[in-house]
């Protein structure tokens, strides 16, 4: 799979593609198909989905609140899988991230004085890490998140066609 369309080697698209392809080859290397049972397939799907999210979050690094939140979520999940006693560790990282985001933005859901509370809450649930954002930052993050999701969709859609 060449990427002749990528003009900018440092753009989000190219970063995401390289990372995702690497992850994908890893997945295919480690797990030769032994059976096509639904559970196996589902496990593989989970791995691929996680790889997609992870590579997207890593491409954005920590520049965005949602990417940070997503990275933290993935890391805590992997810790939990490896070591059930790592709950404390993940709790600490949680607090650190919460504090960090609270220092930047104002914490907690509140009226915001604009009157779009229900929609804002729904949006907060959709965007990763949205609970700690005020409306202003939430809209910012939503815009960037939408941009990243559209690049993902663009990159995935040629699958199955070619």
């Amino acid at each position: 799979m060449n990427n002749p369309h990528h003009l900018n080697p440092t753009s989000l698209k190219s970063r995401f593609t390289t990372r995702f392809l690497r992850a994908l080859t890893k997945i295919r290397a480690q797990k030769p198909i032994s059976s096509s049972s639904p559970t196996e397939i589902f496990r593989r799907y989970r791995r691929i989905k996680v790889a997609a999210d992870k590579s997207m979050a890593y491409s954005v690094r920590s520049r965005r609140i949602w990417s940070r939140a997503m990275l933290w979520k993935l890391r805590s999940r992997s810790y939990r899988r490896q070591d059930p006693c790592s709950g404390r560790r993940s709790g600490k990282t949680n607090q650190a991230i919460m504090k960090k985001s609270s220092n930047e933005n104002t914490t907690t859901r509140r009226e915001d004085g604009v009157g779009f509370v229900e929609e804002a809450d729904e949006l907060r649930q959709l965007v990763p890490g949205g609970e700690t954002m005020n409306l202003c930052n939430l809209l910012d993050e939503t815009a960037h998140y939408i941009k990243c999701l559209t690049t993902q969709v663009q990159l995935f859609s040629p699958i199955g066609k070619g």
């Binding site: 030769p32 198909i33 691929i48 559209t150 995935f156």
Partner: protein
């Protein structure tokens, strides 16, 4: 904003023309709710002008003077209107015996005459005292009075001007970002209200997430199929080899054994088949 200047000029007049009727004041009071609906940010303060003037007249609140600068910075017209208000106010002070002004300003319905004279007396006394004070003080008071007058307009509608300014800035930011999102999200029309736009945005994000999920499922299926197919040759080879081994074993068995041994070998070879 043209309405604003017109009304701000109108405001001192009710005080001057108060003798004949208070109709002008009630009209003014009636006007205010309308203007309130028209434009919250600019006209908030005007609605409560008749009521809040009492507080300013009867209490010395120097701290409010600080916010005046913010208020004047707010709207150009206010700085222009400050002048006529100042002059009107000073005229009023000179004509300080017009207690009726205070009466009517106290009660917009204009009924209680018994209690109001007493209160108005104290108010006028205060003003007179302030006038008799040192020049600097009186100047300050005079400066504060127009400040108070100007500030009174802003007081009820917005807690303090710095807060209202900050809120206005925030709302501007939010509107800006909503507009950006409007361009990104298809299906958002400028005529739609903010709530509708947010709903559209939510739907769009959900649909994008579902698309990504679906496409990654597709990817999984494709990779499974591909892996399966690529390894099928190897598997076939393995199967063939195993089958050949099984056949050789069978031959050996038949040569060596007769009966159950042969049958067992046949069974063991058959288990490799379906794989």
């Amino acid at each position: 904003m043209a309405d604003f200047s017109a009304q701000s000029y109108r405001q001192p007049f009710p005080f001057l023309d108060i003798d004949p009727t208070m109709e002008s004041l009630t009209q003014f009071a009636e006007l205010n709710p309308q203007s309130f609906i028209l434009d919250n940010s600019a006209f908030n303060f005007q609605t409560f002008f008749p009521l809040s003037i009492n507080d300013s007249l009867f209490s010395n609140q120097a701290s409010q003077g600080e916010t005046m600068s913010g208020f004047i910075h707010n709207s150009n017209q206010s700085s222009v209107s400050a002048q006529p208000i100042f002059s009107a106010k000073t005229e009023m002070e000179e004509i300080s015996n017009k207690r009726k002004a205070l009466d009517i300003s106290e009660s917009s319905s204009g009924n209680s005459s018994s209690t109001s004279p007493q209160v108005s007396e104290t108010g006028i006394k205060r003003r007179n005292n302030s006038g008799r004070g040192k020049r600097a003080k009186s100047n300050e008071k005079e400066m504060e009075k127009p400040k108070e007058v100007v500030h009174v307009r802003a007081r009820r509608g917005q807690a303090t001007d710095s807060h209202s300014l900050a809120e206005r800035v925030r709302r501007g930011k939010i509107n800006e970002r909503l507009r950006c999102l409007q361009d990104i999200v298809p299906g958002c029309y400028k005529t739609m209200g903010m709530a509708l736009m947010l709903d559209e945005i939510i739907n769009y994000v959900q649909s994008l997430q579902n698309q990504v999920e679906f496409l990654s499922m597709k990817l999984t299926a494709a990779s499974t199929y591909y892996d399966f197919n690529s390894e099928s040759d190897a598997m076939e080879r393995m199967l063939r080899e195993k089958a050949e081994e099984a056949k050789e074993l069978e031959r050996l068995m038949r040569e060596g054994y007769v009966g159950i041994g042969g049958v067992a070998c046949f069974h063991s070879s058959s288990t490799y088949g379906p794989l």
